[in-house]
Amino acid sequence: MKLELRYFAGLREALDCAGESVDVPASVATVADLRQWLSARGGVWEALTTQKNLRSALDRTMLVLHAEAQSTLHEGAEVAFFPPVTGG
């Protein structure tokens, strides 16, 4: 399944990556799975599971942390990971 990933703010800098297209295996079915799958790359990518409070959005809708396991991915989905927002 092909996904479009985006990273923002401090996380973007830590990963040195603003976004990427990935093709994930069938075992990656939810946003929570995706987070684990990215973290398993090791190195800076472990931040996705070790950094406190990292948030995510699926198709441009922000998810609360415990919703990630219920948020099912689909072909072409846009998933973003980022630190808590600080606008306003």
Binding site: G10, R60, T86
Partner: protein
């Protein structure tokens, strides 16, 4: 409803006046302007230092959508005649305006509540991030727990 994400500054007076102009039922306009504090300091090691500027990053494509959803939720909760939200992005210096929220209603209770609601939700649900420039480099602003608490006041059991 009108939502803008832009690097340019905005005209507070024109935006406020536009909220009531031509709208017969408007008796109350509440507005909020957020600014980069001119005395803003950033934590650097054990001390703090004045910031030279801050840069606002956002999530193009999601930002307008998130702001529109927040305003729609406000319109569902209160009888509003007009809502205007402007959020700036890019580099801003101390003293500059960051955000404008204006709400028009027949009565002041709804205007005040909706204006504060929109700001509280914007702070916690709109994809903006601030990075402060200090003499030793850039520093991302941490989210504040008080902002989560402010937004939580508006939660509903639904």
């Amino acid at each position: 409803m009108s939502v803008s994400v832009q690097s340019e500054d905005f005209d507070v007076g024109a935006e406020t006046v536009a909220l009531s102009t031509g709208r017969n039922e408007v008796g109350a306009v509440a507005t909020f302007v957020g600014l980069v504090r001119a005395d803003k300091c950033s934590q650097v090691g054990a001390g703090t230092t004045a910031i030279a500027a801050m840069t606002l990053e956002h999530y193009p494509g999601m930002t307008e959508k998130a702001l529109t959803e927040i305003v729609t939720e406000a319109e569902n909760r209160w009888p509003l005649q007009g809502v205007r939200v402007i959020h700036r992005i890019g580099r801003l210096q101390p003293g500059e305006r960051i955000v404008f929220v204006g709400v028009a209603s027949a009565h002041r209770g709804a205007a005040f509540a909706a204006c504060e609601f929109i700001m509280d939700y914007l702070k916690t649900r709109a994809p903006f991030w601030k990075k402060e420039e200090t003499p030793i480099g850039g520093q991302w602003v941490d989210a504040r727990e008080s902002d989560d608490q402010a937004a939580a006041r508006w939660a509903r059991d639904s």
